[in-house]
């Protein structure tokens, strides 16, 4: 079904007293998700954001609690603040990324309130990709440039209008009755073309989990990571990476406990107070990265923790290419004990 961009914008803007609108905008570092005042400020033609929208639910730096000390006493305050939000223009890979993060922030025992309160108060409007970058490989990860998984409302850009699909109840509740019209034959053809598109770049992950089950001690890891600088670029730009650190920020008698993004690529990540480090080499850290995404996560959550957005490939300073590494795993010879 179709809605004109103008009308859609009006509907979204009409909600501005209850919801803030987060959408892609152009800024110095590239396109990113930021709060915008009106729908007209939203950037419509973008490949994908430079950084994934995960920071909306899991900010790079956030206060968990704050406290004030008074002599030997202390008062502790919960710092959780939530605003109702419309997150507009999320690409299929990132929407799927959010579904994967949902599984991280809620496990068999705990639920992370900071993430979930924000998540529950946000409506995700997905947007199909009409252009596909050579480094995109979402089709290999069970997605496609037009997969609506993870979105509450899903749009396909038709120029002056959108093809609009309500995916969830939450999406339905947000916009109410929009007065959608039928697509013309020409538009239908365009929608069909977008829906049938696949990424040009593909890798095979069909057997990777089982393969990795047997690869912890494989020599494949030995030289894989030699050129890796150990920076956090790939993790920070990944829609599913979620490791974090908790630290203290203090000023005189008051302070707060904050969490900040951390990454398994950093040597300090696992360093014990005693000086012992269970993952003391970059080899162990890369193995952890691959194992976590393609094996441990699958065993624990039933899904591969990679969505094929290609950001890590685009931003790596030494051209560590996830597709090649996956390929390498597929080709690696198993060591028979």
């Amino acid at each position: 079904m179709k809605i004109s961009k103008e009308k859609f914008g009006q509907s979204v803007d009409a909600l501005s007293s209850d919801y803030r609108l987060i959408a892609p905008v152009s800024e110095a570092g590239g396109v990113n998700y930021k709060a915008v005042k009106s729908f007209s400020d939203v950037k419509q033609d973008y490949l994908n954001s430079k950084l994934p929208p995960k920071s909306l639910f899991f900010p790079q730096h956030e206060k968990l609690i704050s406290y004030v000390k008074n002599g030997k006493d202390v008062t502790v305050k919960n710092e959780l603040k939530v605003e109702k939000t419309i997150l507009f223009g999320v690409r299929p890979c990132d929407a799927k990324g959010l579904l994967l993060l949902d599984k991280v922030f809620k496990n068999d025992q705990y639920q992370d309130p900071y993430y979930y309160e924000r998540r529950n108060n946000t409506v995700v409007i997905g947007m199909a990709c009409k252009t596909i970058a050579p480094t995109c490989f979402c089709s290999s990860m069970g997605l496609s440039p037009a997969s609506s998984e993870g979105a509450d409302i899903f749009l396909i850009d038709l120029g002056d209008s959108y093809d609009l699909e309500i995916i969830t109840e939450k999406g339905k509740a947000l916009l109410g009755d929009l007065g959608l019209s039928e697509l013309t034959a020409q538009e239908q053809a365009l929608v069909d073309a977008v829906k049938s598109a696949q990424t040009t770049s593909q890798v095979d992950v069909s057997t990777i989990t089982e393969k990795l089950d047997k690869m912890f001690d494989n020599p494949y890891w030995e030289n894989l990571q030699e050129k890796c600088l150990g920076c956090n670029t790939c993790s920070f730009s990944c829609p599913t990476c979620h490791c974090f650190d908790i630290s203290e920020e203090v000023c005189q008698n008051s302070g707060s406990r904050v969490r900040t993004w951390d990454a398994c690529m950093a040597p300090l990540f696992t360093l014990h107070g005693s000086g012992h480090n269970p993952r003391s080499t970059q080899k162990a850290r890369w193995r952890q990265r691959m194992m976590h995404k393609f094996n441990y996560f699958v065993h624990n959550n039933g899904d591969i923790a990679c969505v094929g957005c290609g950001r890590c490939i685009r931003s790596c300073p030494v051209n560590m290419d996830m597709r090649q590494i996956i390929d390498g795993v597929n080709k690696a010879e198993l060591v028979v004990e």
Binding site: I65, V74, N78, H242, F244, R257, R259, H272, G273
Partner: protein
């Protein structure tokens, strides 16, 4: 909204006791401020908690008390980093934060009707103490067979809980063996490393479980001894340490393979560990 697992309860530090002669380990006694907090803090021996020194940070420590000791929690902490240093310097009466209890615990249900040998080295004795106290409690003692504790330290001054150890010496419900690495003046008990002492004094492995905690080197050399004594891996338990931040299985640093030590551990049987990558 559900309870926020990042929000600590405040507890009062009622005692900051220097535990060892080298002044490297202190035992903190914390008091619950109200009944509600205590009721919410239901724990078992082997679990840990995240202790906050407000202004310095938060770190995970094993709970040294047993749930049979109401009203308080105790932690024995070595001075290694920023949080532990701050705790050591803390005046009695100061409020500290506690999040927990976290992780799993020693399988005291599975131990029922069995003999137990508890083997500890150095300051890893904290949750083992909790386990021993739990089982020695009159309400539970009848559930278990013989209890043997083998506890070693480098020298007599480094043994934790000296008064308690002295009391156990004379307690017919528990067989305590203490050892130090090298002979020392005034020391009349065992001298030697834990693996060799274990070989000498360990009870028969028949119907017996072993719980081993200590520095990696001690564990490494004690396991073969237990194997030699015919303890199967399913009946050897240990508690692991990892760098942890959230304690909730989310922050991503304490995993060994698919298992998060904070959430799925810290107590593992040797049989479980054999199936996991050797990354700890």
């Amino acid at each position: 909204m559900e309870q926020n697992p990042y929000l600590p309860i405040t507890m009062k530090l009622t005692k900051n006791l220097v535990e060892t002669e080298d002044r490297n380990i202190n035992t903190f006694t914390l008091e619950f401020l109200n009944k509600q907090d205590e009721e919410n803090f239901k724990y078992m021996p082997g679990q840990f908690a995240e202790l906050s020194a407000f202004g310095y940070g938060e770190a995970p420590f094993g709970i040294a008390t047993s749930p049979t000791e109401p009203g308080i929690l105790k932690f024995s902490v070595a001075k290694v980093g920023c949080v532990s240093n701050a705790l050591h310097l803390m005046e009695e009466g100061t409020m500290v934060g506690v999040r927990g209890p976290m992780g799993n615990y020693y399988p005291v249900e599975e131990f029922k009707g069995k003999n137990l040998v508890i083997i500890g080295g150095g300051f890893a004795f904290t949750t083992l103490r909790a386990l021993a106290v739990y089982m020695l409690d009159p309400a539970h003692r009848g559930d278990y067979g013989d209890i043997t504790v083998i506890y070693g330290a480098r020298n007599p001054g480094l043994l934790l809980y000296k008064e308690e150890l002295a009391a156990w010496e004379n307690n017919p419900n528990i067989n305590l063996v203490t050892t130090i690495d090298r002979p020392a003046e005034g020391w009349t008990k065992h001298v030697g490393f834990i693996p060799s002492i274990t070989e000498q004094v360990a009870p028969s492995s028949v119907n017996t479980y072993a719980v081993v905690c200590g520095p990696p080197a001690m564990i490494k050399f004690t396991l073969p001894v237990l194997e030699k004594l015919n303890f199967p891996p399913e009946r050897i338990y240990t508690s692991l340490e990892m760098r942890m931040k959230c304690g909730l299985g989310i922050c991503g640093r304490c995993n060994i393979g698919t298992e998060y030590v904070c959430k799925d551990g810290p107590v593992f049987s040797m049989a479980q560990l054999k199936d996991l990558p050797s990354e700890y």
